[in-house]
């Protein structure tokens, strides 16, 4: 087991290195440069050259890359041009906020999705199945940013149950209650689509399992139906549900961008969009690296979890 985990971790190194090259090249090759973004209307060639020199962007590309990589390996991600603060501070702070949002949404969609899918499968073609299937279709079809906007209009502007945006109150205590009230709407809006997808796939995974012999045996033995479904069948179905959860975790993380913009959540998705528009090269690069590393490790965790459920995968 330890060897398997180590192998998977080592295989992540070339992947991450490849990502640094790609993200560096993309930022170097897209048109427009940070000096123009900083200077706006006043971007004369003379001024652009002066700013590039002061930002160290006049060096050849390969040297810029090596300097960046070398600094990064020592934990120095550089300074953001647009925000004038260390990239790592900004990225970690923002990533923390995204993890809170995406993590909550992920827990919501995993729990609700699997439960809804299981209920659906257990009552195939029953009223619960039909109701859930309808709700799932609705959930999958509504774009999350639109849903977010509608939630703001109803629950924040009209009913004033929740604050419109942000993560913390401008005044008042920063406690769990304050966080939950700010988190509720964005997390829910973000979870909806993934919940639908997970529910659908859980339903079919479970139906597949329910047709198998050991389920018939269990029922024949007289095991209680609740136990058949939730213990025997669901456990067997989890092997095919888990990878879906892994993929959906990725979708939730990337879907967070829209939600972060709509709800002004101070997360990394919104940070990256702003940074790209401002050509804040180091911030984009640092942010992408951290997010990519997270993706890679999340996939490793899913693989490991899967291998625990099904030892055949380990080889």
């Amino acid at each position: 087991m330890g060897g398997y985990i180590l192998r998977r971790l080592l295989s992540a190194v070339p992947v991450l290195l490849g990502i640094t090259v790609i993200v560096f090249l993309i930022m170097a090759l897209i048109p427009g440069d940070p000096a123009t973004a900083i200077l706006g209307s006043y971007a004369t060639p003379e001024n652009v050259a002066r700013i590039n020199r002061e930002l160290g962007l006049d060096a050849p590309l390969w040297r810029q890359y090596l300097i960046w990589l070398g600094n990064m390996l020592q934990g120095d991600f550089g300074q953001s041009f647009a925000l004038n603060r260390p990239v790592l501070d900004e990225v970690l702070e923002r990533f923390g906020a995204t993890l809170i949002l995406a993590g909550t949404a992920f827990v919501l969609c995993a729990l609700l999705g699997v439960i809804a899918g299981t209920i659906s499968a257990a009552n195939q073609y029953g009223w619960a199945d039909k109701a859930i299937t309808f709700a799932v279709l609705l959930g999958i079809s509504i774009p999350s940013f639109f849903l977010g906007m509608m939630m703001i209009l109803l629950f924040a502007v009209r009913l004033r149950w929740f604050p419109v945006s942000g993560m913390w109150p401008i005044y008042g205590a920063r406690d769990a209650a304050a966080l939950i009230s700010h988190l509720a709407m964005p997390a829910l809006a973000l979870a909806v689509v993934a919940t639908g997808v997970i529910a659908r796939l859980s339903r079919s995974a479970l139906l597949e399992v329910l047709r198998q012999d050991f389920i018939r045996t269990a029922r024949a033995k007289g095991v209680h139906e609740r136990s058949v479904i939730w213990r025997h069948a669901l456990r067997a179905a989890m092997v095919s549900i888990l990878p879906v959860l892994g993929i959906q975790a990725g979708f939730v993380l990337s879907g967070a961008v829209y939600i972060e913009i709509v709800f002004q959540w101070p997360g990394i998705g919104r940070m990256l969009v702003d940074a790209i528009l401002r050509r804040d090269i180091l911030l984009v690069q640092g942010g992408v690296i951290v997010v990519a590393a997270c993706y890679v490790f999340f996939n490793i965790i899913v693989d490991v979890a899967q291998s625990l459920l099904d030892p055949r995968i380990r080889t």
Binding site: G40, E90, F162, V164, R226
Partner: protein, 523 residues
């Protein structure tokens, strides 16, 4: 079925718990005496020398003062930290008498040494705090040869040539005076630990959440009415609108045109102010159909600017008449009339020039500073030009890419391009974008290669004149010629807008587009 039952019950319980936990407080209601402002982005820094965005200026103008400032409601300078000044006969020496007894928020005192420190830091590469930059807009002061401390309350600027916009550049945020002691203490972190002399002093910066400033009770121009101001960055315009409607902010800037109708009625007040902004089309006067003045004039007649301003922009802009925005009241030529919408006249001119059915390449941007609604405007313009017989192909670019295409010049690429400028002096835009010596290859912004020796001469003279009336006369003459030559299609002057709720009093927008809050009150 028991499963379904159990789940329904637990769902109900969870729902009830959630409602109990969250249902109680009604959110919104900002505290009295504290103004919460909905900004459009997170500021970069609170160091006036280091920033370029209007968004940052909105905070800075309330924390710092300059030597001079714009008179309320105008773009004319009046004393601020300097009480008086004298300009030498040849226009190269400006001697300022400084206000006495002013202290920075950090307790250090304001004097001639502090003024010298500020400008040397920006301009002198050997200054010990030059490395607290970069200072992107320092070229506003590139005419400064030397700053001399005559005595503690007198400071003299020696310029390398007469430069008439100097005073209004001092009123621009780049000229705001920072505390040398604070720069020495915080170094490159000064932008997050600012200290000035303004009506509000910096209290707290919570990244991506808020910048908080508190009243400075010792302000030399009278303590402000508010206890504090909170600047919240809310980048999405729809969310900003929702916050305003929900009461989470008291003042919202840059209301999107489509949201204006939300704020009709008693509980809100809409503020509008035309500013020193011009939205125009650069025409390629070097090659293609627009090399002919008649065709350029035809484009000005063909485009229905009223429709663009009223339909596309929902009345958030006014039709522009010429190259100088009317907000520069003292330098604006009142006799200038916008080109009327006259497709017949346009067709006649095109026929006279023999340019019927000419194919035009039109650069449009997706968005950008001061560009308003560029795609919708570009489409309307395309339709108007096609109506008089042109064949217009639009090419759309993201803003930074767009600048990278347009600023080096349109030659060989396009016949026309959208552009917008916001400036602080009537000199800036024509000097940088209409002179023969401002062609892109000479470091200017004359991307359409307009050249008229008379205009060059007038602009040079205006820059050397120190008398405002003389400058005004020169600018007015320049506007007439440029209007006739039509190197651009003059489209719109943007009206900045803002909404306040009914708890906010004494708020007015300024033509400078700065946000001045020292007289504002809130109950």
């Amino acid at each position: 079925m028991s499963i379904g039952h159990l789940t329904r019950r637990s769902l109900l319980a969870a729902g009830t718990a959630l409602t109990m936990a969250l249902g109680a407080p009604a959110f919104a209601q900002t505290p009295p005496g504290v103004l919460v402002v909905g900004q459009i982005a997170e500021p970069k820094a609170l160091d006036p020398a280091a920033v370029t965005a209007v968004n940052d200026f909105r905070i800075l103008m309330n924390v710092y003062d300059g030597l001079v400032r714009y008179k309320d409601g105008t773009l004319e300078v009046e004393p601020a930290l300097a009480t008086d000044w004298e300009i030498s006969e040849d226009g190269t020496e400006y001697t300022f008498t400084l206000r006495e007894g002013v202290t920075f928020h950090d307790g250090s005192s304001f004097d001639a040494e502090a003024v010298k420190f500020n400008f040397d830091r920006m301009l002198d590469e050997s200054h010990p705090y030059y490395d607290t930059g970069p200072f992107p807009l320092s070229f506003f002061f590139s005419a400064i040869e030397e700053v001399e401390v005559v005595d503690p309350t007198t400071v003299k600027f020696v310029l390398n040539e007469p430069y008439a916009p100097f005073l209004s550049n001092l009123a621009y945020p780049t000229g705001l005076i920072v505390s040398p002691a604070a720069v020495e203490e915080h170094g490159s972190e000064f932008g997050r630990n600012p200290s000035g002399t303004g009506p509000f002093k910096f209290a707290e910066w919570r990244p991506n959440e808020a910048v908080v400033v508190e009243a400075n009770p010792d302000y030399w121009d009278g303590a402000p009415q508010l206890e504090a101001v909170v600047f919240r960055p809310i980048t999405d315009a729809s969310t900003r609108t929702a916050e305003m409607l929900a009461g989470g902010i008291d003042l919202m800037v840059e209301v999107p045109p489509v949201a204006l109708s939300q704020f009709e009625g008693e509980s809100y007040q809409l503020h509008e102010q035309a500013g020193p902004h011009l939205w125009f089309l650069i025409l390629n006067a070097k090659e293609g159909p627009f090399a002919d003045k008649l065709v350029r004039q035809a484009a000005n007649y063909a485009i229905d600017k009223e429709a663009i301003v009223n339909e596309v922009l929902e009345g958030t802009a006014e039709v522009a008449a010429g190259p100088t925005p009317p907000a520069f009241a003292w330098a604006y030529n009142e006799d200038l009339e916008p080109y009327p919408y006259d497709p017949e006249k346009a067709r006649e001119l095109i026929a006279e020039a023999g340019a019927e059915g000419a194919e035009l390449t039109f650069y449009v941007t997706e968005g950008g500073s001061g560009m308003l609604d560029p795609v919708a405007m570009g489409t309307a313009i395309q339709a108007d030009l096609e109506a008089v017989g042109f064949d217009v192909a639009i090419e759309t670019y993201e803003w930074n890419t767009f600048l990278g295409e347009v600023n080096p010049g349109l030659e060989g690429k396009a016949d026309m391009a959208e552009m917008a400028w916001m400036t602080n002096d009537p000199d800036t835009l024509p000097f940088l974008a209409l002179r023969s010596e401002a062609f892109p290859d000479q470091g200017g912004f004359n991307s359409g290669y307009y050249s008229n020796p008379k205009v060059d001469e007038l602009l040079e003279q205006a820059r050397r004149a120190t008398d405002q009336e003389e400058r005004a006369r020169l600018y007015k003459e320049m506007q007439e010629i440029v209007h006739e030559d039509a190197p651009w299609v003059f489209v719109a002057n943007w009206k900045q807008n803002a909404v306040t709720n009914d708890r906010v009093e004494n708020f007015d927008l300024q033509p400078s587009f700065f946000l001045l809050l020292d007289d504002v009150a809130k109950n």
